[in-house]
Structure formats: C-alpha cells, structure tokens
C-alpha cells in the first residue's frame, strides 16, 4: 500500500521547504502566432501546493498559457521554470517536465482503442517503465479514488462524459505528477455531470496537489482556489485571493466579465 501513497502526498511539501521555492515560475513570457500576440508579458509564480483558477473571455489566451507550461505550445520570449527545471528546446528537459506535470483536457482525450485500465497504465508502463502488474494496481487505486473502479474494462466510448473526465484525471494521477493542469475540464459536460468532476477536483485540492485550472466554475474557485487570475487579450489583468477578487474586483474589465458570467 505504501508505494501507492497518493501522488498528492508527494507534492505536499510546504512552500518554504521547497528547493526552488516555486512549483511554476513564468517570467516575462511572450508568445506570438505569426503576427498575433497571444501572450503579453506574463509573470506568474505558483507556490507548491497552491491552487490557481484562471478565468477570462474566450480567446484571451488562457489555454495557451497553461499549454506553454508543459510545452504543448512553445513560448518565444521569457522564461518558464517548472519544478526548478527551465523549459528550453532541450528534449530531455521537456520529457522530464512532462513527467511531473499532468494535464486534463476539455474533451478528455482518452484513447478510444484502449480500455479504461489500459488508458491509465499506458504511460506508467512506457514512460516510467513500470511492470504491468504494478501499473495495474496503481491504476485501480486511482480509479477507486475517482469512484469508478467497476468501469476498468470498458472502453471510453461506453462511459458518460463525467466518467470519462474522471478517468482522464485518474490517468494523469497515475504518472504521480507534482502539478496538475486543467483546461476547462467541465465545459464539455452536461450540467448534472459537472458536479462529480468538480468533487474529484476538490478532493485533489484538499490533498494539497498543485493545481492550475482554467474554468468558469466560480463556486469551485471560491471553495478551493488560493488565487484567481483574470486574463484578457493575452494579459493577466487581475490576480487576487478569491474573496477580494469576487467581492471587489479592481479592474473594470474584470467587473464586466464577472457580471456576465455570474449574471446567468
């Protein structure tokens, strides 16, 4: 059982005891798509164990920013340091960082030709070189954690959206990441399935996982976030603890955005 200690426990080190102080550091990050300036001078330091929620209008660069953190997108200027490793074009470092950073996508991106169990064990077996038996145990552990161990031998197409997203979270956890990135994990889900996914995420947060989460679920932000970030047009406009962020936004654009999404 001890080798199955939850990944969150590994990441639970308090901010002060961490070797480099921060889980993620973005300093002066800029990115362009051709002429289009998607990320403008992004500065962000994320402590270990911190939960950050990112919101903002469509096209503001939220996805792009978090996708830069595990190099699904390349930034052109500035530095990104993840767990003390600076992201460069060095493929070794990218691999190293991807092993420490898990990601969950809006459309789950489960592998349709693999069973749920195989989805979970694929990376442990091929990347961590874990024996199959051990990987299976690990996978069942995390499937139990997201409350769907009975689905292990089904295929993704046979599960509901909420179940698929929980599988995707379990799949990321199987790599025992120190950091988890979420890109709108609930926005492709029917309302009644949003809750089960959010509950899973809350329980992760309670275990101290470092989380960066793009979401418009403001209830979730209030409940678990240490900080909420508002982005617009490629910039971080406002960043604050949830209480002041929601009750007293400093910028007009934040206010407008919040009134729009909280209005409904």
């Amino acid at each position: 059982m001890s080798n199955l200690a939850s990944s969150a426990a590994l990441a639970q080190a308090s901010p002060s005891s961490a070797p480099s102080g921060h889980a993620i550091e973005l300093v002066g990050v800029n990115k362009w798509y051709g002429e289009f300036h998607v990320l403008k001078d992004i500065n962000l330091k994320v402590h270990r164990g911190e939960r950050i929620v990112i919101c903002g209008p469509s096209g503001s660069g939220k996805s792009t920013m978090i996708r830069c953190i595990n190099r699904l997108e390349e930034h052109q200027q500035g530095t990104i340091i993840v767990d003390g490793i600076e992201l460069t074009n060095d493929l070794k470092r990218i691999d190293e960082i991807r092993r420490e950073v898990g990601m969950c996508f809006q459309h789950f991106n489960l592998f349709p030709h693999l069973t749920i169990l195989e989805n979970l064990t694929l990376a442990p077996i091929w990347v961590r070189k874990m024996p199959k038996k051990e990987a299976d145990e690990l996978a069942m552990h995390f499937l139990t954690k997201v409350k769907i161990p009975e689905q292990a031998h089904k295929y993704p197409g046979q599960l509901s959206g909420g179940q698929q997203q929980r599988v995707a979270i379990a799949r990321a956890l199987c790599m025992k990441p120190k950091i988890l990135l979420f890109d709108e994990p609930t926005s492709a889900l029917d309302p009644e399935m949003v809750k089960e996914v959010l509950e899973t995420m809350v329980s992760l947060a309670e275990e101290g996982m470092t989380m960066l989460c793009v979401t418009h679920e403001m209830g979730f932000a209030r409940q678990v976030a240490n900080r909420v970030i508002f982005m617009d047009a490629g910039q971080i406009i406002e960043m604050n603890e949830p209480e002041p962020f929601f009750s007293n936004p400093q910028h007009e654009r934040t206010r407008l955005f919040l009134s729009q999404i909280l209005g409904h």
Partner: protein, 226 residues
C-alpha cells in the same frame, strides 16, 4: 465452345495450382511489406524532418501517378543498366511492394490526419515520446478508420499481380497464357483463371475483414468520442 473444351484446361490443374500458389505468395508478401512500410512512410511524411517529408511526398506522388506495368518494366528491364539485376520473382515483389507502399502511405496518412489533435497532445502530456505516441496512440484508431480503404487497395494489389506475368513470373495469368498457347483453348483458359481470380478476391476480402475484426477493430467505437 462446349464443356469438353474446358477439359483441356482442367487437365492442366498442376500448373494452375503452381500459379495460384505464386499469386498468393506475391499478394501476401507484398501486402504485409506494403502495409508496414506504408505506415512508416506515413509517419515520416507527417513527423519526419523536412527533407524526409519531401522525399516521401515525391515518392508517393510518383508511384501513384505512373502505371504499375511501367514500374515493373522499369524495375526488371531498366535497373540492370544500373547494375541491379533482379530475378523475375524478386523484381515482382519489389514492384508490388513499392507500389502498394505508396498507396498505403497515403491511406494511412488520411487516417492519421483525421485523428483529433487532442490525442497526440494527451499522449505528450503523459510524457510519451513522439514515436511511442504515434505507434501506441495514433496508429491503432487511424488503422481502424481506414481499414475498408486499405482492404480495397490490397485487393487491387492482388489483381495487379496478374501483370507480373509480363516479366515471366509464373503466377496464375502466366499459367493461363501457357495453357492457352499449349491447348489453343484461349478463351476457356482465361475464363477459368478469371474465375479463380474472382474467388481469390472474394476470399482475400473476407480474410481482410476477419483480420480487421480480429486485430484492427476493438470493441470500441471511435465515432463516440472526440
């Protein structure tokens, strides 16, 4: 023409059998090699360095836009000028494989391009290397998507192998020619061999459907998921 005129043809059953074995061998070997090499070429043409991509594009376009008969003539009669002398069977296998690889590459590439980008991203975010992501995550659903097209192409290769008779490979249609000129029963010989081809094509298609069900299609439905 009556039934008795077929008797001469049926008397030649040993040579028909030899031809059949050769046709089956040519088809199976080139199908296997063509699909494997086609997959590798598809990978190279999508993820390889620029020079490799261009080379593969050029190769695929060239072999899809020239007749197989010309290709086999060039390989068998033309290449010896460069000092590369192949025996007929090898030349036939090389020609069939090179031809099929070009088509298979194109078919598989289409299947890969229909794969949602998220699949590759999810694989990368889990730390899989590009080659691992390609062969473990991208290829299996892509194969499922294009298996019907691949089946048709493999049947076409079976039928195209008839042209190997033109460089005197002793396969079915070569034996048909032999029987025809020995017995002067041209029409009868060709009817019998044509029907054998038809049977082979039907069987081969069945076999590929079985292979598809057994190895290519899982119990999953790709359509159900983005």
């Amino acid at each position: 023409m009556n039934l008795s005129s077929f008797i001469d043809v049926f008397h030649a059953w040993p040579s028909l059998l030899n031809g059949l074995v050769m046709t089956v061998m040519l088809t199976l070997v080139s199908s296997f090699l063509g699909v494997v090499l086609g997959t590798l070429c598809a990978w190279g043409s999508l993820k390889g360095p620029k020079a490799v991509r261009w080379f593969i594009r050029g190769y695929v376009e060239f072999f899809r836009n020239t007749p197989f008969l010309g290709q086999i003539f060039f390989i068998f009669f033309g290449l010896p000028a460069l000092g590369l002398r192949l025996d007929p069977v090898t030349a036939a296998l090389v020609a069939l494989t090179i031809n099929l690889t070009a088509y298979a590459c194109e078919i598989i590439r289409a299947g890969i391009e229909a794969t949602p980008a998220g699949q590759f991203e999810a694989a990368s975010s889990l730390g899989l290397k590009p080659a691992q992501a390609f062969f473990l995550v991208i290829i299996p659903p892509a194969f499922q998507r294009v298996w019907p097209a691949m089946t048709s192409q493999l049947v076409i290769i079976l039928l195209a192998s008839a042209l190997c008779s033109q460089i005197s490979v002793a396969e079915l249609s070569y034996e048909a020619n032999m029987i025809a000129s020995r017995t002067f029963r041209n029409f009868e010989a060709y009817i019998v061999v044509t029907l054998i081809y038809l049977g082979l094509a039907v069987l081969f298609r069945e076999m590929l459907t079985w292979v598809g069900r057994r190895f290519v299609y899982g119990e999953f439905a790709t359509g159900a998921q983005r």
